[in-house]
């Protein structure tokens, strides 16, 4: 009964999001600019090294894949929500990218390669320190995938309440990103083990 009700509540939240659009442009105020400056200061350190990294800007509802400060790719977020204590802004490191089933070749075999379509649409990403990002498609596009994600979330919540969950590492914040199926696959594809993630505000 409870899982079903949870499903109904969250489905309503998905179908009637808190804002009419995907993103909100905040007015230019000191708090917003300070936060953007903090992100830039962190990004300067990250971009100084030869690497591709990810910037998650929740105020603009967008994921940016970047290198040397240059935007390489932009992935729109349909909807997001955060649970847990504290501010999510900061620098994180991805433990491992979403798993993918790699075909194993035998001599003279002709194999199907791994393509973007083979990447998962729903997955969880663990970051250090203490961040989990759960990606799932919108209920309107992949209802059952979305429903399974929500039920899993509910199950984990109940499990944790009962003190039965196994939490090897401290997770302070969980971020739930709703991405279109293709955007979810693009993000999964773009990630690499140990990749740096910056979360904060960028100014247009």
């Amino acid at each position: 009964m409870f899982p079903l009700l949870t499903l109904v509540f969250l489905l309503a939240a998905e179908l009637y999001p808190a804002t009419s659009g995907a993103q909100v442009t905040p007015p230019l105020d000191p708090g917003a600019v300070s936060e953007a400056n903090r992100l830039l200061e962190e990004e300067l350190k990250v971009a100084a090294r030869p690497q591709v990294y990810v910037v998650l800007d929740l105020s603009r509802s967008v994921v940016l894949v970047k290198g040397r400060g240059i935007e390489l790719s932009q992935i729109p977020i349909v909807h997001w929500r955060q649970s847990g204590d504290g501010a999510v802004t900061g620098v994180y490191r991805l433990r491992t990218r979403p798993p993918v089933n790699r075909p194993k070749a035998a001599p003279t075999d002709t194999l199907s390669p791994i393509e973007l379509d083979d990447m998962p649409e729903a997955y969880e990403l663990e970051f250090d320190p203490g961040l989990v990002i759960a990606v799932s498609p919108p209920a309107g596009e992949r209802f059952w995938t979305w429903a399974l994600t929500v039920l899993r979330e509910w199950w984990m919540f109940v499990w944790a309440l009962l003190g039965l969950g196994t939490t090897p590492d401290v997770v302070n914040i969980r971020l739930y990103l709703t991405l279109s199926p293709s955007a979810g696959q693009s993000l999964a594809w773009s990630l690499t083990d140990g990749m740096t993630l910056l979360i904060g505000r960028t100014l247009p």
Binding site: S20, A47, V65, R102, P113, L116, T192
Partner: protein, 214 residues
């Protein structure tokens, strides 16, 4: 419109809090609402000015980290290669990148070749004309052949096209005998281009040209 749409959401989330305590503390849209609560516009603009000056300085510093001349971007998911200069795209080309498949190494339990195009930031390290392919072990094993002991038997000409641009660890941007496979993930990690696009990239790129692969 937006207010009407919020009502069922808020009501249902409220119920969710009572029943499950799992409704988020922050979500899409709440960021802008929080910002709007701060002081009156005139004091805001005065306070914002030094912060914006700092913002402009930081953005300039970040921009200085970017390449000054041409650079190459490869999107392995969509099999596209771009040559860019600043924000301008000078060339957009269909490419083939790594298949992501694996092959066991013989007589080495647990060791494998993984045919991915490497991700990250690289530089063009070599520019070759009329390159020859020195076939690695896996090329023979894939064909069910014995790996030759004579290095001369590894050399094949006419496979890689007219040019090759090396970006380290044996990976190259080169041509292809199979243009119909451009746009697909079929290579062993190298980046294949059509003859015309390869010629253009060869002309635009220099030794040291940055290459970003994602």
């Amino acid at each position: 419109m937006a207010t009407g749409a919020r009502l069922p959401h808020l009501a249902l989330c409220g119920l969710g809090v009572l029943m499950f305590g799992m409704v988020p503390s922050v979500e899409s849209g709440s960021v802008g609402t929080q910002m709007a609560k701060e002081g009156p516009p005139s004091s805001l603009s005065r306070a914002v000015q030094p912060l914006m000056a700092r913002h402009t300085t930081l953005k300039q510093k970040l921009a200085q980290l970017g390449p000054t001349g041409h650079y190459i971007v490869v999107d392995t998911g969509h099999n596209r290669l771009y040559v860019k200069r600043g924000k301008e795209t000078v060339l957009s080309a269909l490419a083939s990148t790594g298949s992501g498949t694996i092959l066991d190494k013989p007589n080495q339990p647990g060791a494998q070749w993984v045919f991915d195009t490497p991700r990250g930031e690289f530089t063009i390290q070599s520019k070759l004309t009329n390159p020859v392919w020195v076939k690695p072990d896996w090329a023979f094993l894939e064909e069910g052949l014995t790996v030759p002991s004579n290095p001369a038997q590894r050399v094949e000409t006419g496979i890689l096209g007219d040019y090759a641009l090396g970006f380290g660890k044996g990976y190259f941007i080169h041509g292809t005998l199979y243009p119909r496979l451009l746009g697909k993930n079929v290579t062993h990690g190298c980046i294949r281009l059509s003859d015309d696009d390869l010629r253009s990239v060869y002309k635009l790129a220099r030794i040291g040209t940055p290459l970003m692969i994602f």
